[in-house]
C-alpha cells in the first residue's frame, strides 16, 4: 500500500501544484494512466470548490490532500477548514435541459459522483472531509 499527503493553501492559483502532487503519486505508485484522468478531474473540481466558494475574505483555507493506493482501489481524501459545506447536497444539474437553460453550477460535483465509485462527506474535527474511491479492477 502506498500513501502520501500534502497540505497547501486553498487558492485557485495552487491548482497546478495540487495536480503536480497527484501526478507525482501516480508515477511513483505506477497507477494506470486512464484512471489518472478521473482523479485529476475530481481533484480539480473539489479543490476549486473549496478555493472559490469555501473561502471568506479574511482567510485562505488550509487544504490537505491524501492519496492511498492498494491492490484493489485508489482513495483520494480532501479535507479543508473552510466553513462547513457538504457538496453532495448540491442539486443534481439537469443534464437534459436546452442549451439556453444549461448552468454550470453543480456540474463538477455531478461529474465526480458519476466517475468515482464512492463519494462520502463528513465533518470531523472542524474540517470538511470528502472521501472518493475508485476500484482498480474495473474499467
Amino acid at each position: 500500500m502506498k500513501t502520501a499527503s500534502w497540505q497547501l493553501p486553498g487558492e485557485a492559483g495552487q491548482l497546478p501544484n495540487a495536480l503536480g502532487f497527484l501526478q507525482g503519486f501516480w508515477e511513483e505508485a505506477e497507477l494506470p494512466a486512464a484512471l489518472g484522468f478521473t482523479f485529476e478531474l475530481a481533484l480539480e473540481e473539489v479543490f476549486l470548490n473549496v478555493a472559490l466558494h469555501g473561502a471568506d475574505s479574511s482567510r485562505v483555507p488550509s487544504v490537505v490532500l491524501e492519496l492511498t493506493a492498494c491492490d484493489t482501489e485508489v482513495v483520494l481524501v480532501v479535507t479543508d477548514d473552510a466553513r462547513p459545506f457538504d457538496p453532495l447536497t448540491l442539486a443534481t444539474p439537469d443534464t437534459t435541459a436546452a442549451l439556453e437553460d444549461r448552468t454550470i453550477g453543480g456540474l463538477g460535483v455531478h461529474l465526480v459522483r458519476q466517475m468515482m465509485d464512492t463519494v462520502t462527506y463528513s465533518h470531523e474535527a472542524g474540517r470538511n472531509r470528502l472521501r472518493m474511491t475508485k476500484n482498480l479492477n474495473q474499467p
Binding site: 485557485a12 491548482l15 497546478p16 486512464a34 484522468f37 485529476e40 478531474l41 480539480e44 473540481e45 476549486l48 444539474p93 443534464t95 437534459t96 435541459a97 436546452a98 442549451l99 439556453e100 444549461r102 454550470i104 456540474l107 463538477g108 455531478h110 461529474l111 458519476q114 466517475m115
Partner: protein, 109 residues
C-alpha cells in the same frame, strides 16, 4: 490555440489540458472566432486530453454565442476520456458532436 480556415468555416484546435487555468484564454479565442462571423465554427478536439467543468463551461458559452450570432457550431474528434465528460453531463444533447473534422465541416456546410 491554432485556428484554421476551411471553406469559410473556422476550425479551432485546442490541445492538452482545458482546465480552470486554461479556460479564460480558450473562451476569449472562441468568442473572437464567433465575432468574426464565419460560416461556421468547428472545435477539433483531436489533441485535447483533458476537460473539467471549467472547460465545459467554455463550450457552453461558445455554443450560445454562436447560436446568437447565427454561426453554426460543432465539436469533433473527442478522445474517449473527454467524450465521457460530455456524455455524463448531457452536453452532447445540446452541442453537435461529430466523429471527425470532415464530418463536422460537412454538418455545417
Amino acid at each position: 490555440m491554432n485556428t484554421e480556415n476551411v471553406d469559410g468555416i473556422t476550425v479551432a484546435l485546442p490541445s492538452g489540458r482545458l482546465d480552470f487555468g486554461a479556460a479564460a484564454a480558450f473562451q476569449q479565442q472562441l468568442e473572437q472566432a464567433v465575432a468574426a462571423k464565419p460560416r461556421g465554427l468547428v472545435v477539433d478536439c483531436s489533441s485535447l486530453d483533458y476537460v473539467s467543468s471549467a472547460g465545459l463551461r467554455v463550450f457552453l458559452v461558445a455554443a450560445r454565442a454562436a447560436k446568437a450570432g447565427s454561426v453554426g457550431f460543432a465539436v469533433s474528434s473527442l478522445k474517449p476520456a473527454v467524450k465521457e465528460v460530455f456524455d455524463l453531463t448531457g452536453f452532447g444533447n445540446v452541442i453537435t458532436l461529430c466523429a471527425d473534422r470532415a464530418a463536422a465541416v460537412a454538418a455545417l456546410a
